[in-house]
Symmetry: C2
Subunit: 419 residues, 2 copies
């Protein structure tokens, strides 16, 4: 059911509205806030000055104001933006290659990074949380930032994440299952922590980067070592009841098809993922479970050149991938009629080879009426979009769950991890 409304809710809502405008468009003057939010100048003054005295926003010092084209008459505007020190967040990307961490300030600017080649596949599941906590501590040490100033940690993993339970249900990066993550971080560092699927974080990043384009209903497909999907429904990333993402990679394409890493047969991933392409091309039987090792970048490049040279086995691998991807997307379209499908990730490098088969499958797989309203877009997104999306999500969460509420003094919410 909906939430009860009172004057408290009004303020919270409008504070949030103002912060959202700021996140989306960057620093702006109070007048612009009025334009973006629809609030009266009087209310903007009231809300913004409150946010400033809360330490969440700050006025730009005059020096910073850029010359805005032709000199304009009238009282000059004062730009307002997030106070970079209002909060900090840490984003962690866990993949089978290792860990990647980033520390961002309250504006989303990255202050420090850290990469670690640690492979976690065979690691003790119980020790993983500790490892992560240590990595985060090292990152913060590097940036000389006390732990308590981090408001939130976001963790993006390949595979199925249960963000409710804070666990990694199943991931190619781990042999074990149901690995607890959030609880350990929260216990060891005292920072709220959320686990999420990496493709969902890409979707989050896309929304943050261009709301007009990705804010409606869209499906974001990540192709690479695995195949993931982030679903955007009515401008929001869809997290199922448990917080799991759309497991497009493990949606069945053909009953009794090639063996997938997940143990089933015929998953989309078993046609489209890096390891699947190599398996097709090498003529290897698709009845053996694939190796769990990372695939060298060079191997994929070699496969691509082979295909461009016209080698039949390589070409046929891409053809099979294109068909599986096309039928998979056709099924998504039939169910959700997204207005946009984004193909992203390293796997899109070979899109020229895949595309004809994809299009043919799409045509065979779904009625014209539905297919016609979908725009398919290829974005060879830097994997950094996962980090960006994780940061965005963490900051938006802080905005909504902490900053939207009044000053700390006024309420009893636990919250030391700011400023």
């Amino acid at each position: 059911m909906r939430e009860k409304a009172d004057s408290d809710l009004v303020r919270r809502q409008n504070r949030l509205l103002l912060m959202e405008a700021l996140r989306q468009h960057g620093a702006m003057a109070r007048v612009d806030m009025g334009r973006h939010t629809g609030l009266s100048p009087a209310s903007i003054t009231s809300i913004s000055s409150q946010l400033i005295s809360d330490g969440i926003l700050e006025e730009a010092s005059a020096a910073h104001v850029p010359a805005e084209g032709p000199l304009r008459r009238g009282r000059p505007t004062t730009q307002i933006d997030f106070n970079p020190k209002c909060a900090h967040v840490v984003a962690v990307k866990v993949s089978i290659d290792g860990l990647e961490l980033a520390l961002a300030d309250g504006r989303g600017a990255i202050l420090a990074r850290r990469t670690s080649r640690t492979t976690t596949y065979d690691a003790d599941p119980a020790a993983f949380g500790k490892l992560l906590a240590d990595e985060i501590t090292a990152l913060l040490a590097k940036a000389r930032l006390p732990t308590r100033r981090v408001a939130r940690v976001g963790i993006a993993v390949q595979g199925v994440a249960d963000s409710q339970a804070g666990t990694v249900v199943w991931s190619p990066a781990f042999r074990g299952r149901n690995i607890s993550v959030s609880a350990v971080i929260e216990d060891r560092l005292g920072i709220p922590c959320r686990v999420a699927n990496d493709a969902n974080m890409i979707a989050e990043g896309l929304i943050g980067s261009d709301r007009a384009r990705y804010g409606g209903t869209a499906a974001v497909v990540f192709m690479g070592y695995g195949v993931g999907m982030g679903l955007i429904i009515n401008g929001q990333v869809y997290h199922g009841p448990t917080g799991a993402a759309a497991e497009f990679g493990h949606m069945n394409h053909v009953p009794d098809g090639p063996l997938c890493r997940c143990g089933r047969r015929g998953c989309v991933e078993a046609y489209v993922a890096d390891y699947s392409l190599l398996r097709w091309a090498s003529g290897e039987a698709a009845t053996q479970p694939p190796s769990s090792n990372a695939i060298p970048h060079a191997d994929m490049l070699a496969l691509e050149t082979a295909a461009h040279r016209g080698e039949p086995a390589a070409l046929s691998a891409y053809a099979k991938a294109g068909e599986a991807l096309g039928f998979g997307l056709a099924r998504i379209i039939a169910i959700l009629t997204p207005s946009r499908i984004v193909l992203a990730g390293p796997g899109t490098r070979a899109m020229a080879l895949i595309r004809p088969y994809l299009d043919r499958a799409l045509e065979a797989g779904v009625v014209d009426e539905l297919r016609r309203n979908v725009e398919i877009e290829v974005v060879p997104i830097a994997t950094d979009m996962i980090i960006k999306g994780t940061i965005d999500r963490a900051l938006r969460h802080v905005d909504r769950e902490i900053f939207a509420y009044g000053p700390l003094a006024k309420r009893g919410r636990e919250l030391e991890n700011i400023a």
Copy 2:
């Protein structure tokens, strides 16, 4: 972006909150409203008396109050409920068998019905709206209700509806495509009108009947002459960007499979729908487009008895249907991880024959982790659920878009169609 909040929004929200509680639990006393909404008694008094003077609610006359068990001390409660005359809505179900209409009052009670065997398949698409308007007029005449007292018409059709454009994009009930409906009704009768998919309306009806059970994330499959799906996401029926429903029936199952009514090959419907079952059983080639006629009920019963007798062709038809349904649902689960799947409609009569194959396919089609959290439920829903759902939806829309706003005097909204 979110909506700006002011005292107006607060009242609107709380009025709606109160009306939702009433829709869900039926007549109740002010104290109960407080319990359900979390609003203070003072606010409940204020809001309810406003709604009463607006003619939207009414106090039950003392006579109607039921003896509530043991006599209780203290001031007795006064039950409040919707004023049945606050608005009326018309629900229309369009299927290949003909039309079915119902007129309901502001409480959702059905005042009059009308059925018509008119088949629309070969009718002039341009004339369909007029036909519908005439049918509605006849229904209202029967109930002696002036047209202007109907606040809304809801139309449920098999197939793809575009509720934005108010058209039937594609339906087995029509040969033509993109048949305009809403505009004609609105022009002829002056009543706002929405077209929707029939499976979505079943989902709407289920939510209305048991929010606790169906209010989360669920998929409702309707099996019968065709195969439809209504998707409930976070307690709300999902209407895609254009208003189309989840076209589960026309989601591909196997590339190059049997020919479907939609013109593609291998759709789920081409395995599971009535005509598909008969086609399999008769050994008819699945390369001819199926007939567009309604299938006699007796034919389906005959097929079922044949299967129960053990006839191989009949058994195999159900086996194929079960497998296609199971893989289809496995794909839905992979993408959306609903916590509940409801199988409904006449096609569920043969569930005992289908179920083993369905379960086997489900097991083969999706990893255990995802499958385990889904509850599959068979509900041989009376087709009347479509009408009920359409009425519910129309009334909830009136609540939200009209009643939630203050009295007419206070605002400039067009609205003659009440009380």
